[in-house]
Each structure stands twice: as structure tokens, then as C-alpha cells.
């Protein structure tokens, strides 16, 4: 891809962070005619909006409040609509700002059919503030607020399925993505630019929170898809299509074993995780057969 890099080379993300590359790639597709919201979270903290008198991007960029990315975007889109301007109005938001504190504003903005593109970079927790659990943290995972101990066994609840929640809004375009499948991701961004409001949920492994060596990010991301823990699909005007079907599905055990946050899981717990993944994968295969 030869498109222009619109993100500063000096972003201070963790060494090996692939959220930064997911954003860089997204901006290459979105181009200069874009306004970008980066709320509090890893990308805000690493200086994507900027520091003092410098800015982190070559496009207009701003810090929304934690809960209001989508409502601010919907106001921007309304103003541009009034002015007759066609500009990509984009949010790049973590899982906390999306699935937890920002969910109401996002649901409202999409229900109002706002002309916005919303990308959730999900690293399964509040990684910027030191790895607290969020509603998208996987079952069983250690986080700093679901610690291990005499009674603590990691997170005891399932993760919130944001893509399906957004699909239930009957919106034009919903997709899941992975940094290990960049062409799948960029194609989805291209579609998201045409079919608005649009929502892309990209599962971004986090080396510090998930506890794996920094060079393993793509490997972990790839395993999340190949094990069907994170299936890649899109829902275009109500029609679901799985965009990558693993030739050989890898056992969830392989995915789990790449990450320190799961190392306390027992064989039985891993088996439970496998059963849950199987159940959801079969459901997805069935959903693909249903006409819109």
C-alpha cells in the first residue's frame, strides 16, 4: 500500500503495540479528507491528538470526552450535512470508550443514522490506565481488577459481543477485523466509508495486558482468528458474510497458551472456553445462511 501515512512517526505507544499500526493503516485508507476523534485510551495517551503545540496527525484530530465520541461525531456530521460538506467523520476508540462508558452515545448516534465511521480497537481492557477489566475482557482473563488470589480466578463473566449489539441496530455496515489480516481490514474500511453509519471492531492484542513477548503480536492476533476465538465477518445491510474461514481450525488451547493472562486456567476451564468458541462459531455459520 503506497497511500500517505497521516500519523506522526513519533507516537509513544509500547514497543510492539499493534493498535498504532491499526490506526496508521486505517488513516491510509481514510485519507486527508477526514476528521478524527481519539478519546481517552491508549491512542489518546500515546499522543495521537498531540502534545502541547504539536499534533499527532496530518488531519484534524481532537480529544472527545471518554463517554461522548459518538455524540460529538454525530454533531460534527450534522454540521457538515448542514454546510453540504462531504468529510469522513471518524472515531478510533478503545473497548472501554465503546462497550462501557461510550455505549449509550454510540447506540444513539447510530440509531439517528449519523454519517459517521466508528472503529473500536479492542484490547480487552483499560490498558492505558494499567490493565483493568472491561466488558470485552475475555472470560477467565487476569486483569488488574480481576486479579488472582485465594478466591480470585480472573474475570468470571463472558465478553460483551459489541459487533452483534451494533448489528442489532440494523445499521448499514458492521464488521470485525484483525491486525493479522490487513487486507481484510482495509477492504472493510473502504466499505465503511461508503455504508454509513458504519462500525468496525478490531481485536488488537496488547502485549503488556495480555502478557506475551512484543514480537508475537501478529502471531497472537492470527491465532485469535484461526482458533475462531475472533471470527472475521461483516454484516452489510443485514447480510452476514464470514470473510475468513480458517482452513484448519486451531484449538483454543494454542491461543490461550500464547498469553500470560490465561496461564492460571485449568484444563477444564480451557475446555469450557473451547466449547463456548465452538458454540459461537456454529451460530455464526448458521447466521451466514440466513437471508437478510
Amino acid at each position: 500500500m503506497k497511500k500517505e501515512d497521516l500519523l506522526s512517526p513519533g507516537i509513544s505507544a509500547c514497543v510492539g503495540c499493534i493498535v498504532e499500526s491499526s490506526l496508521r493503516l486505517a488513516l491510509k485508507v481514510l485519507g486527508r479528507n477526514t476528521v478524527l476523534a481519539i478519546p481517552p485510551g491508549c491512542m489518546g495517551g500515546t499522543g495521537v491528538v498531540g502534545w502541547e503545540n504539536t499534533m499527532g496527525t496530518k488531519i484534524p484530530v481532537f480529544f472527545p470526552l471518554f463517554p461522548n465520541t459518538a455524540s460529538m461525531l454525530s454533531g460534527i456530521a450534522a454540521a457538515y450535512e448542514y454546510q453540504g460538506k462531504k468529510i469522513n467523520v471518524v472515531g478510533f476508540v478503545g473497548d472501554g470508550g465503546t462497550a462501557d462508558i461510550g455505549l449509550q452515545a454510540l447506540s444513539g448516534a447510530v440509531e439517528r443514522n449519523s454519517d459517521i465511521i466508528y472503529i473500536c480497537y479492542d484490547n480487552e481492557g483499560y490498558m492505558n490506565t494499567g490493565m483493568q477489566r472491561s466488558s470485552t475482557t475475555s472470560y477467565g482473563a487476569w486483569t488488574s481488577t480481576t486479579p488472582l488470589g485465594k478466591k480470585g480466578k480472573g474475570k468470571t463473566q463472558n465478553r460483551k459481543d459489541m459487533a452483534m449489539i451494533m448489528a442489532a441496530h440494523d445499521m448499514p455496515y458492521v464488521a470485525t477485523a484483525s491486525p493479522a489480516f490487513p487486507l481484510d481490514y482495509t477492504k472493510k474500511i473502504e466499505k465503511a466509508m461508503k455504508l454509513k453509519p458504519s462500525y468496525i471492531h478490531i481485536l488488537n492484542p496488547c502485549l503488556t495486558g495480555w502478557k506475551y513477548p512484543s514480537e508475537k503480536a501478529i502471531e497472537v492476533a492470527k491465532l485469535s482468528v484461526q482458533s475462531c476465538a475472533w471470527p472475521l465477518y461483516e454484516i452489510e445491510n443485514g447480510t452476514l458474510k464470514i470473510t475468513h474461514k480458517p482452513g484448519k481450525i486451531r484449538p483454543i488451547k494454542e491461543y490461550v497458551e500464547t498469553q500470560g493472562r490465561f496461564k492460571h486456567l485449568t484444563e477444564e476451564e480451557i475446555e469450557e472456553y473451547q466449547n463456548d468458541v465452538n458454540r459461537k462459531w456454529i451460530r455464526l455459520l448458521n447466521l451466514e445462511k440466513i437471508p437478510a
Partner: protein, 399 residues
């Protein structure tokens, strides 16, 4: 001045005319009693093609203010309205509107804060967010709501100011009560309020800009200082725009405060909002009986018109400040505290009495204002301050 019409309007309807005549581009609002009819009137005006604006029927007040901040950053003139709990729920983006220096206008149909559950008037909602950096007007009647709403856009958008403005009016007492209101002509309003020309932080791909990068304390401190200076500068702007409005439309609200029969007054009542009309009547009545009573109506609580108040009260021996809210930390209202603070730096040291009244829709009528007037006059004659703050509606009296 072109031809105007006079109609019998409730406060919300009068406010809607002020909004429609000001031609905002984006409106985002969430319904709450007693503000609701205002947003219905505006929605109808958009549906009828009388107002060309994008309307966002948002899912919360937090999103209403957030959407307007986005729209304002994209260069739109914006408006919303709310009351009580809605304003409290909105607090996070309310604070941000002023610190981003966005000229958003918001009407507040004042309603007491819960608990207990209440729907009726009180100023605890807007007074509670007074620290958030907005200019705050309090209207006396429905005509003033309409006129101040138009003025609010011009004040907010003045380049010396660039601060958001609240136009507060008493829930039910004004929002749902009707009186004759003169509706200005659109062409007159257009010449008074030119189209919005945004020239501060703007989201525009042609001119990329970062809004709110992580900011070190040195820069942040200078932003705060400039915002305080802008709030100070707004005093002159409010006075000038009042004059300009008076010259164009013939109605004078005297800028920051209105002093009524204060020149020789020994005792002065200080009021905010709809209680002022009755207080005027009480002053006239007491004057006929030979009492030197005056009245000051506070038109703004933020910026606080300290100098103007001191100027008009310097000859008085006692001042009775009637607040339609109580601050739990002081047991008094805010106007009382601010006035006392303003007087401390001056030679005149009149007695200042705190009256608490009108909470949760309680009446501030002839009886209550008579009591306030008598108490303040007595204090001026005896040169003695009542031992307690006085609650005008408290059953069984204050003990």
C-alpha cells in the same frame, strides 16, 4: 424597525421564537419537564420549514451538549435547552463547552434538583453549574426570555467573549405561564445578529488542527487566565449589546443589573428571575407608605456584576438578598455570598440579609416579599442584622 407582532405566549413559546429568529444550524435536545414544550415548538418550526436547521433528537442530555460541541467545532451555530437533572447529567460536556470557548446557547427552564422528587421551580440546577464557566442570564418575564435568547447568540459569538451562554427562566412561573410578547421581525433580527463566522478552533481538513492535545500546566494556566479575562470582558459586551438591542427594538434590560428606585433607598431588595415583577410592585407600595425601599434585579449571576451592585447599594443601610436556592455549605444563596464578598472591598458596609425562598415551586408572592421588605427596612432603621438567615416559605418559621 419593521413591523412586529404581539402574541400571548408562554415562556417556552417565547424562547422558541428567540431561537427560531436566531437561525441556529444544529439543535440537539432531550426532553425534560418543564423545558419540553420549547423543543417541541422548535421541532414543529423545522417540520414546517420555518427554521432551516439540523435537529438531533439525542438519547440523553450528555449527548445533546456533546453533539453541539462537535457541531460548533465544525463551524455551526448551535442551541439546546434543558432543566434540573438534565443539566446535572450534562455537567461533563457543560464544563467543556466553556473551556473549549464554544459559543453555544442553552436555555434552562429552571427546576429544583432532586431529592425529593420535584418538578417545580428552583435555581439549584443552574446555580449548581455556575462554576462551569458559562455566562448566565436570568429572565424576569417572557419578553425578556425571547429578547435575551437573541442577545445570547450575539454575546457568545463576540470575539472578545467566545463563551457559551445560558438563558435561565423560572420553570412553570414563566415556562408555562402566558403573557403578551412582542415578536421582532426577522429582518431586524438578521441585521442585529449577523450569520455566525467561526474563527477559533475548527475541524476542517483544509486546515488541519489538533483540538485539545495533552496540555502542560503552563499552557493550561494561560488558557484559564484568558478565559477569566473573557468572562470579565463579557460585562462590557453584555452592556453594549443591551444598548444596541434597545436602540433597535425599544426594550432596555439595563445590561447586567437593573436598579429600581435605588437612588435614595435606605433598604434594597435584590432579586433574580420572575420574583422581580412582584418585588417592583412591593417597592411601589412601600414607597407610597413613605418607606425608602429600592430594588435590584440581577440579570446575570455569571459574570457576577459586583461593581454595579456596589455602585447602586453604597448609600443603603440594609440589603435583603432573596435567593431561589440554598447552598448547603453556607446556608445562604449565592447572590448573597457574592454581594457580601463584593462589599468587603468598599467603604460602605450595609447590613446584608439572606432570604431563602421559592424552593421546589414555593411561592415568592406579595406576602413573602412584604416580609422581606419589612425585615430589610427594620434592619436599616435599627441598624441591626437579624440573627438567622430567613426562610420565607418555611412552615412554622425558621428555628
Amino acid at each position: 424597525m419593521a413591523k412586529t407582532t404581539i402574541e400571548v405566549l408562554n415562556g417556552n413559546r417565547a424562547a422558541s421564537y428567540g431561537v427560531i429568529l436566531s437561525k441556529p444550524h444544529v439543535i440537539a435536545a432531550y426532553p425534560i419537564t418543564p423545558q419540553t414544550p420549547l423543543i417541541e415548538y422548535i421541532a414543529q418550526a423545522i417540520a414546517d420549514g420555518e427554521l432551516d436547521a439540523k435537529s438531533l433528537e439525542v438519547e440523553s442530555e450528555h449527548s445533546a451538549m456533546s453533539a453541539l460541541e462537535g457541531a460548533s467545532l465544525a463551524g455551526a451555530r448551535t442551541f439546546t435547552a434543558t432543566s434540573s437533572q438534565g443539566l446535572a447529567y450534562m455537567y461533563e460536556p457543560v464544563y467543556r463547552a466553556s473551556t473549549l470557548r464554544l459559543p453555544i446557547v442553552m436555555n434552562i427552564a429552571n427546576r429544583e434538583m432532586d431529592s425529593p422528587q420535584t418538578l417545580w421551580c428552583g435555581h439549584s440546577d443552574s446555580v449548581g453549574v455556575r462554576s462551569a464557566g458559562w455566562i448566565q442570564f436570568y429572565a424576569e418575564n417572557n419578553q425578556e426570555i425571547l429578547d435575551t435568547t437573541i442577545q445570547a447568540f450575539k454575546i457568545a459569538e463576540s470575539k472578545e467573549v467566545l463563551l457559551p451562554v445560558m438563558v435561565c427562566y423560572d420553570g412553570f412561573f414563566l415556562s408555562h405561564s402566558s403573557e403578551p410578547v412582542e415578536i421582532p421581525n426577522q429582518s431586524d433580527v438578521d441585521s442585529f445578529l449577523p450569520p455566525y463566522q467561526p474563527n477559533q478552533a475548527i475541524l476542517d481538513p483544509e486546515h488541519p488542527m489538533a483540538i485539545d492535545p495533552l496540555t502542560p500546566s503552563s499552557l493550561l494556566t494561560s488558557y484559564r487566565y484568558k478565559q477569566v479575562k473573557a468572562m470579565e470582558a463579557s460585562k462590557e459586551v453584555i452592556k453594549n449589546i443591551n444598548k444596541e438591542y434597545y436602540n433597535k427594538f425599544g426594550r432596555n434590560y439595563h445590561g447586567l443589573i437593573e436598579a429600581y428606585k435605588c437612588e435614595d433607598a435606605e433598604a434594597i431588595l435584590v432579586t433574580t428571575g420572575s420574583m422581580t415583577g412582584t418585588a417592583r410592585y412591593i417597592v411601589d407600595k412601600f414607597r407610597l407608605e413613605g418607606n425608602r425601599l429600592g430594588l435590584i434585579k440581577l440579570r446575570v449571576l455569571s459574570p457576577f456584576p459586583a461593581e454595579e451592585l456596589v455602585k447602586h447599594t453604597s448609600q443603603a443601610k440594609a440589603i435583603g438578598v432573596i435567593d431561589r436556592h440554598v447552598q448547603f455549605y453556607s446556608g445562604t444563596g449565592t447572590a448573597y455570598l457574592e454581594l457580601k464578598s463584593a462589599l468587603y472591598d468598599h467603604e460602605s458596609q450595609p447590613i446584608v440579609i439572606a432570604f431563602i425562598a421559592g424552593l421546589g415551586g414555593a411561592e415568592i408572592g406579595i406576602k413573602e416579599l412584604q416580609q422581606a421588605a419589612k425585615t430589610t427596612l427594620n434592619a436599616s432603621k435599627k441598624n441591626e442584622k437579624p440573627k438567622e438567615n430567613i426562610w420565607l416559605n418555611l412552615q412554622g418559621g425558621s428555628k
